[in-house]
Symmetry: C2
Subunit: 268 residues, 2 copies
Amino acid sequence: VRFHYLSGPDARIDVDDRGLAYGDGLFETMAIRGGTIRRLDLHLQRLERGGDRLRLPLPERRELAIRIDAEIAGISEGLLKLVITRGPGPRGYAPPAAPEPVVILTATPQLPPRQLELRAVMLAQRLGENEKMAGIKHLCRLEQVLAQLELAQYDADEGILLSTSGHIVGGTSRNLFAVYGQSIVTPRVSRAGIAGVMRRCVLEQCERLGIAAEEADLAPGDLVAADELFMTNALVGIQSVAQLDGRVYGSRARATQLRAAIEAIEHV
Amino acid sequence: VRFHYLSGPDARIDVDDRGLAYGDGLFETMAIRGGTIRRLDLHLQRLERGGDRLRLPLPERRELAIRIDAEIAGISEGLLKLVITRGPGPRGYAPPAAPEPVVILTATPQLPPRQLELRAVMLAQRLGENEKMAGIKHLCRLEQVLAQLELAQYDADEGILLSTSGHIVGGTSRNLFAVYGQSIVTPRVSRAGIAGVMRRCVLEQCERLGIAAEEADLAPGDLVAADELFMTNALVGIQSVAQLDGRVYGSRARATQLRAAIEAIEHV
């Protein structure tokens, strides 16, 4: 397979690229800290799951790592966006037999501001369910764009979405965790949503720390009943939900504990 | 609103365009016959419904018509693809307050071959449901790409898809009609699927010809029970389903009648 690499914000892509035409591709947005990509392995693992699901060939990990290193050279703190599309193709949804994927790397020497608390609202829009597309980070993100348009009506930081079958999925760009006494629950991402890198990291830390954590179906009432809510995202880490639709959540205990545990690992 | 126009297959687009990043845009693929766009009004009406739904500003119809005329000049038969994206934007799903949409026009002097019959299969993949995204022709089409990957396993021309709630939606790139005696039914497109231009044209012809036609929910068993099935697409027109998963459909009566009625109008 022949891959085409593009680099930097001024790069341009053919208008017949299937990433533009059909959202036929994947992406990752990764934090750069201390001059290296945080949790690169987890990002690449998710990328590979996406490649398997879409039958989209990916570069070897070693090749990708070399390209990434070159792109982030000289950047101490920031973010790196990686997009991989199935490349140009003839008209029609059927993928070409021998695709030439396009890999786009864009580094930005700036991270989003650190914010430890969020005000959240439940959104009315529901997310469609598709087992083949759930969990992976593909380029078809109009649902999230529409959710942001809905969220803009409120004085809030994040919106929480249900799937069409009425299960909590998470935020527009964050996974959600609910704390009940000593245990933690996060929505499954097998029918909708994204399997976040920080979500996985939190689940791993729970296991290491002996905190009971499970993936399950959650209904809106389950959030009202929670002792504590927090959300996760690879760039901003763990953020406590201070309020949801006006209900105030006082506890920050698990969020604080897990944030400290993850930061301790990062600084090793 | 400032629009940026790109033209021709060699045009290139910024990698931070939201059409590539998030599928944040719309498209139309239109038939050129006799040097003019067939059913341009219906295409532009659907585009405008999409613009309303996504709150994506569109150029004035008159401006778009002038650009389209310039793009198809000298082409007697072919197709024109129009893509409109929300243009470049900063990172994040939230649309910019003042987007500068990008309009891409690409004409090809060739139409798909005329084929009056299709062999179809039912596909296993189900389409997610989202009322905000159903009906319009947005750029998030990975479900159709995955459906084509599934279809490639079969010796068939088209695959028929169910929504997650078990209703027939249509083909990967065609709407579906089922004939029962004197009446015709086509699946609703209010929760999944695209409101096809040729679909609308067929419904209008049914009304003109006094044929009972309605949009309704259809289950797989309803297709087995049908006297005749046909599919529609703006580029290839009306095509009879000769067989579906091996069941042979003998009747071509309604498909033939409606095709003749539509061709008669086109040649006025």
